[in-house]
């Protein structure tokens, strides 16, 4: 019944659309005319306040789909508002095909032809005079027209239209030029003073009325509309009472951004206490605060919007570092902090966060907290509960004591061991309330703070105390510049403190490139022939590429070039194509660019010259654009592939033209050691990179240490392991002239995404040897896997050609996963470390759109905490930035800042300078997406033809559909015929007849090779679960992910059901020696019937076996039966029952999944309505 009605609605709208066009189209366009020409031709004087709409017929289809998606969502039962009035209003609005113009200033368009469309058939221009009205569309579909005022805030329009604006949190502002923004209008979220241009729309849904995605869709559909005064000519335009110039509306005092500033501990907070607030992702903050007896130097990183991470050095002026070995140096405490947001602030809910201080240090300042914040305009209040140092004042008796006796008290910290995560004390013992309030001044320059401290300073480190006259602290922060804050505080009622914060967003870093040569302008005349050597020189200069071959073959200009490892491939490609266009004769219609990195084929790019030129010289609507570049995987060419090619102007470069020799300053430092807080060296280093072949080279560098303060460097860290890293002092101090790295490397493309390398020499400052690596990295895949194996020997302390006695084989298997979620990448390494210890390293990092990386790693090996020594295990935090973001000239390479609390011998990895994963970065799915200026690009309002018609949807929750499958499968159990139940029961009974005999066999197999097979069988369900988990990420596409989800849910259900069965049956296991007939119902302890392993294995394989017709998978699952029986954990009948249970659950769940996927799917497209069904 819905379809015919919808079709009628379309007809009505199309009629409306034509009616409006007839009304508004004032001057027809001339074929081939540009928008700027039309504007100048139709207006004697430039009038930028007039709004010019550029309408493109081919864009009506996508916009129609957008409107239909909006209408369909309004009919969803979950929508509490808008299904009636809003639907009718939106249906009454025409589909126009309007596209955004970068500017309606004709003179600017003339100077920027790439933003100035050339008008063609089906396109029209419409000028709407600056109509002095604002339209407000409510969530119920009512439209209210108001007089526009120059300084009238959004809130004033809302108040003029709505009796009550208390239920409005967010509104969508649609300016007459088509730009859409979301604005907070309530006291808890208002952060900007937004004004509206005449002709603007406001879409104001009530709180909770529509999903955000739908509101955004509606706002963008409104952006395609004419000013409401044109659409609703009979509607009165109401005055806003306070619009008169004599009594202008003042900026509401409360509506300004809340200023986020650091506490004394560096995290966002008040003075001594944290708040629940978080900075935006990418923010890095360096903070120093001084308040006797502590001086804290903190670096806080914000890898995610909801996660803050940092480290700190605290100088304790009333304690010595270690009289025996550190002289009179005062104590330096190292610590790591984390803070996690649990809940974002809403109209009625606070922002909520929990955090840990000093999580990885000595625990001198170890604290845990939960804290909530609520904002009212410029006021932001926080209240929290702190444990440990932050809660030393007490007053709240063991809040988590109900969880058990051990939460009643807090274990005493043992100073000096450090490195433990102190998890045994988290949230233990008494706590204290803390909190306070901050106020931001209207200018945003000042923040005033007051807080109730959670500490009473009577249990300070080293059993000291500090007098506290008042638990209240007071502070003021002056925002000296957007990146520098200065703080002054009065604390404890008797002390004055100061603080300095420098902060910036590494995810938004950009750097102009004044030292780059200017790209040549588009040529007016094309060359007659290719000057290949000139092109090669220009590509080296502008793109950093070393051209190996350039030639014209027919209508194709092809180049092969070696890249320089720079990150921003898209920008380099843009420059290169511009140079190819300049250099290519007129008859060339296509460019082919084959790039390799050190001889490894990376990408094959084909460029349509005409399409690229069109992109450079005129703006186009999205529906009319063709991709000018198509990038695919590069492939290895055989030498005879090019033989006999009749190439014009061909050029090739010698192999060593990519070689490089450079001299650079060098600097390194060690922080926080007992011999001095900063131990540094500065000097110069000469680096060499000599290519013997494109894929074989000698690389390395020598360093001359010229300035340092190593004369105070005396301390060698103790070690209970082979001293694989703790001889660092001797390595840096023995010789001023060192050769930290010099090696020969060969890499090879093995085909099919496989790569290999072998290398040998002085691999790093402490080790020399040989090694090899294999990497499998499919094209554009989020997954990669590699193995490296090395045999290395310790180098002499002088870092010359000498070697020491210690040698070791080390290497790792490494899995790489780009999760696609919040730019998070995971690297998991498992293998043998330099000290011979075996373990794994987990490395998590966020890679921002400009290539900046914030990450952290942790390594756990079979070295105990006691053996490892101070630190307990290896860990660290790092930030990496492309040099492109730091230098005024385009350049390859990255700058790294790594912080590790301590250098120890456990979990130490070989520092390999050449890694295949880095060399093959162009195969990354994001390789062409990294740009040097993502923030500017996103905020650039001067773009013509921006896409208005994309359809936003709320993120789908895969597990909600899985939940429906579970319930569906439960209901389906009743549909299973009795005969099937009887068949299953019969099979179990039949198997039970052989229980004793089979167990006798198992008894005879103890201590034989069957033990190994049994262990493999036992691991089967875990391996299957891990594999399903990997597929769930989308590794094998959406279909595979759905099946994996079903498999995992099936396993969970099968194990859950089996636990009930075990409880009910209570059968003794074979190893118990009570025989196969010992049953004790109501006892879950060690019950044998049925096997969880086997049930889970069959539940995991059944959905795959059925959906992909792979019955052999059942054999894999059956292997788990063999293991359980051989190890005498189960009788044969237990495994048969478990297998049947798993199979049954897996089948029911798989059927539910297929039933869901094969239901009817509605398909809306311009000009038709369809419904599809899969079989």
């Amino acid at each position: 019944m819905i379809f015919p009605m919808r079709q009628i609605a379309w007809v009505v709208s199309l009629w409306g659309q034509f009616a409006l066009q007839a009304h508004a189209a004032d001057v027809a366009v001339l074929p081939g005319e540009r928008v700027s020409d039309w504007i100048l031709r139709t207006s004697a004087v430039t009038a930028p306040l007039d709004v010019v709409h550029w309408r493109v017929g081919s864009e009506r289809g996508p916009q129609l789909r957008l409107r239909e998606a909006v209408l369909a969502s309004l009919l969803a039962p979950s929508n509490t508002e808008g299904s009636g009035g809003l639907t009718a209003t939106l249906q009454s609005l025409p589909v126009t095909g309007r596209m955004l113009l970068a500017s309606s200033d004709a003179r600017w368009l003339q100077g920027s032809p790439q933003q100035d469309p050339v008008l063609a058939d089906g396109q029209s221009l419409h000028r709407f005079e600056a109509a002095g009205s604002i339209a407000v569309l409510s969530g119920t579909g009512d439209v209210c027209l108001l007089e526009q005022g120059a300084a009238t805030p959004v809130q004033a329009y809302l108040k003029a239209c709505f009796v009550d604006t208390d239920d409005l949190d967010w509104v969508w502002v649609v300016q007459p030029d088509g730009r859409v923004s979301k604005v907070g209008v309530a006291a808890w979220n208002a952060d900007t003073f937004a004004t509206l241009a005449p002709g603007a729309w406001l879409f104001a849904p009530q709180r909770g009325g529509l999903p955000e995605s739908q509101s955004d869709n509606i706002a963008r559909f409104l952006a395609t509309q004419a000013p409401a005064r044109v659409l609703f000519p009979g509607k009165p335009v109401l005055p806003v009472a306070s619009l008169s110039p004599e009594a202008p509306v003042r900026v509401p005092a409360d509506f300004r951004p809340v200023q986020l500033t650091a506490s004394d501990w560096g995290e966002i907070g008040l003075i001594q206490t944290p708040s629940a607030r978080m900075e935006s992702a990418g923010k890095v903050r360096a903070h120093v605060s001084a308040m006797h007896p502590y001086t804290k130097m903190s670096v806080l990183l914000q890898p995610m919007d909801w996660f803050e991470l940092g480290f700190r050095y605290t100088d304790i002026s009333n304690a010595l570092y270690g009289p025996g070995y550190a002289g009179d140096q005062t104590y330096k405490d190292k610590s790591i902090d984390v803070k996690l947001r649990l809940l974002k602030e809403g109209a009625y809910t606070p922002e909520l966060a929990m955090g840990l201080r000093d999580v990885g240090g000595t625990g001198l300042f170890a604290s845990e907290y939960v804290v909530a914040n609520k904002r009212w305009g410029a006021w932001d209040a926080s209240v929290g509960l702190g444990w440990g140092y932050l809660g030393a004042r007490g007053g709240v008796t063991a809040p988590l004591g109900f969880l058990g006796q051990r939460f009643q008290s807090r274990p005493v910290v043992v100073v000096g061991s450090g490195g433990e995560t102190n998890e045994q004390s988290y949230f233990h013992g008494d706590a204290a309330l803390f909190g306070g309030v901050q106020w931001s001044s209207p200018s945003g320059k000042w923040v005033l703070k007051a807080e109730l401290d959670g500490n009473n300073y009577q249990k300070e480190p080293f059993a000291t105390t500090q007098p506290q006259n008042s638990p209240l602290n007071w502070g003021a922060v002056y925002r000296y510049s957007p990146s520098v804050d200065i703080a002054a505080t009065v604390q404890r009622g008797n002390r004055v403190g100061v603080g300095l914060t420098m902060h910036f967003n590494v995810g938004q870093l950009e750097m102009p490139k004044p030292l780059d040569p200017a790209l040549p302008r588009l040529p007016a005349v094309y060359p007659v022939a290719l000057q290949a050597h000139v092109l090669a020189d220009e590509l080296k200069q502008h793109a950093g590429w070393t051209v190996q071959r350039a030639s014209v073959m027919g209508a194709t200009l092809a180049i092969e070039a070696q890249t320089d490892g720079a990150l921003y491939m898209q920008e380099r490609m843009d420059r290169a194509v511009a140079l190819l266009h300049k250099s290519a004769p007129a008859h060339v219609r296509r460019f082919v660019i084959e790039l390799n990195e050190r001889g490894l084929p990376m990408t094959h790019t084909e460029v349509d010259r005409a399409e690229w030129l069109a992109r450079m010289t005129r703006a186009q609507a999205p529906s009319l654009k063709l991709p000018p570049l198509v990038v695919s995987a590069g492939y290895r060419r055989e030498p005879d592939e090019r033989a006999g090619v009749d190439a014009q102007g061909a050029a090739s470069s010698p192999v060593d033209s990519a070689s490089a020799l450079s001299i650079q300053p060098s600097y390194s430092q060690i922080l926080g050691g007992p011999d001095g807080f900063v131990l540094y060296q500065a000097g110069v280093k000469a680096t060499v990179d000599y290519r013997l072949q494109p894929n074989t080279w000698v690389s390395g560098y020598v360093n001359a240490r010229i300035l340092d303060n190593y004369d105070t460097f005396k301390f060698d860290g103790p070690s209970n392991l082979p001293r694989v890293r703790t001889d660092a002092r001797q390595y840096v101090t023995t010789s001023r002239y060192t050769m930290p790295n010099m090696q020969l490397t060969h890499v090879q493309d093995l085909g099919g995404g496989h790569y290999g390398s072998v290398y040998g020499g002085f691999l790093e400052s402490m080790y020399a040897g040989v090694g090899g690596e294999w990497l499998y990295r499919p094209w554009k895949s989020p997954f990669a896997f590699g193995v490296d194996v090395n045999r290395v020997r310790q180098r002499s302390f002088a870092q010359d050609f000498g070697l020491r006695d210690y040698e070791v084989s080390t290497g790792h298997a490494t899995a790489y996963w780009d999760t696609g979620w919040n730019d998070l990448q995971v690297k998991l390494q498992m293998g043998r470390y330099l000290a011979g210890d075996v373990g794994a390293t987990l490395d998590l990092r966020r890679v921002f759109a400009n290539g900046t990386t914030i990450g952290a790693w942790v390594t756990r090996t079979n070295v105990s905490a006691a053996q490892f020594g101070e630190g307990s295990f290896d860990k660290g935090i790092y930030v990496s930035m492309p040099f492109d973001l730091l230098l005024p000239k385009s350049s390859p390479g990255n700058a790294h800042a790594i912080w590790t609390p301590l250098m120890r011998d456990g979990g130490a990895r070989l520092g390999r300078s050449v890694a295949l994963f880095d060399l093959t970065s162009q195969r990354d799915p994001r390789a062409m997406a990294f740009v040097s200026n993502p923030t500017s690009r996103a905020g650039n309002r001067f773009v013509t033809g921006g896409d208005l018609s994309h359809i936003h949807t709320e993120p789908t929750n895969r597990w909600l559909s899985g939940r429906d499958d579970v319930f569906g499968a439960g209901r389906s159990v009743g549909d299973v015929p009795y005969s099937t139940w009887l068949l299953g029961a019969g099979a179990v009974l039949a198997a039970s007849a052989f229980d004793a005999q089979v167990d006798k066999w198992a008894l005879n197999q103890q201590g034989t090779q069957a033990d190994g097979l049994a262990k493999i069988g036992n691991a089967v369900p875990f391996a299957l679960a891990a594999g399903s988990g990997a597929l769930l990420t989308g590794l094998a596409g959406e279909g595979g992910a759905n099946t994996a989800q079903t498999a995992l849910l099936s396993a969970g259900m099968a194990v859950g059901a089996n636990l009930g069965l075990k409880y009910a049956v209570g059968r003794a296991r074979p190893v118990d020696g009570q025989g196969a007939g010992s049953f004790q119902g109501g006892n879950t302890k060690d019950s044998s019937f049925a096997s969880n392993h086997v049930a889970a294995a069959f539940a995991l394989v059944t959905p795959f076996a059925q959906q992909y017709d792979m019955p052999s998978l059942y054999l894999v699952a059956a292997a788990s039966s063999l293991g359980r029986i051989q190890q005498r954990e189960h009788w044969l009948s237990d495994t048969v029952a478990g297998g049947l249970l798993g199979y049954a659950v897996g089948s029911l769940m798989s059927n539910q999944q297929l039933r869901r996927e094969k239901s009817w799917q509605l398909d809306l497209a311009p000009g038709r309505i369809g419904a599809t069904k899969s079989f």
Binding site: V45, T46, A47, P48, L49, S103, D105, R107, W108, Q110, G111, S112, A130, G132, Q148, A150, A151, Q175, F193, A194, T195, L196, A197, P198, A200, P245, P248, V249, R250, V251, P514, L515, L661, S662, I663, Q664, P665, A682, G683, V684, A704, I706, L707, F883, L887, P888, K889, S890, S891, R941, F942
Partner: protein, 237 residues
């Protein structure tokens, strides 16, 4: 002595490093040469096409740039000059005052006058006011009405001009030879907070015209504008 020797070696090595075309070294060299600073030399040594007219624009905190005159648009209130920068940015001036910009961080989308300014006078004029209706992007502050007071700067007060903000090339002696006007917004919407503007009037192209000005598009975005090359006698050394 040993310390000094090491410093010498470090300096020598860095000098050596400057010879190689490494981006870091090139940056260091550019820093040493001052090429990353004001870039004044680039404007001073630019080869100008005598067929074109140029406007030197120096945005606070940025290197000066030369804009070229693209169009002269007739207008009842005076010809609008349309100037283009190398990346397509546009500045429109009318009688020396900015009446439109496109492509800058803050743009004046349009400026009209509901009460016209008095024409510039080379011999020192009288105080006056005009009313400007201005629209600003990206804040969409459209139709803001501002009353601007224009007052000549007495010869004896020229020494109090904020010469430092006029740029390193501007000499006090040159300022003394020009006629100066100050423009201050005296009535405006609450969202407007423009600093004072300064105009130097002299002879340009044989006519009385603005030969130098400092104008602000926003409270934190001011720029110096000067027809280039400077033609008035006052700018001759």
């Amino acid at each position: 002595m040993r310390h000094a020797l090491r410093l010498f070696v470090l300096g020598f090595a860095l000098c050596l490093a400057a010879c190689a075309p490494n981006p870091l070294q090139q940056t260091l060299v550019a820093l040493a040469k001052g090429d990353l600073g004001q870039g004044e030399s680039a404007v001073a040594t630019a080869v100008l096409n005598p067929a074109y007219r140029y406007l030197r624009v120096e945005l606070d905190g940025a290197a000066p740039a030369l804009l070229v005159l693209g169009y002269l648009e007739p207008h009842p209130d005076g010809v609008v000059e349309v100037w283009y920068a190398s990346l397509g940015e546009v500045i429109k001036t009318q009688n020396g005052r900015i009446v439109g910009t496109v492509g800058l961080g803050v743009d004046w989308a349009s400026v009209t006058f509901s009460k016209l300014p008095v024409a510039w006078q080379g011999g020192g004029g009288l105080a006056s006011t005009y009313v400007r209706v201005r629209s600003e992007l990206p804040g969409y502050r459209v139709g803001g009405v501002e009353t601007v007071a224009v007052s000549p700067v007495a010869r004896q007060d020229v020494g109090q001009l904020p010469l430092k903000s006029f740029g390193p090339m501007f000499q006090a002696a040159q300022a003394q030879r020009l006629h100066w006007y100050q423009e201050r917004v005296v009535a405006a919407p609450p969202t407007s907070d423009l600093p004072v503007s300064w105009f130097a009037v002299g002879r340009h192209g044989g006519q009385v015209a603005v030969v130098f000005s400092r104008q602000c598009l926003a409270d934190n975005m001011c720029m110096n504008l000067q027809p280039w090359p400077a033609q008035d006698e006052a700018f001759k050394p």
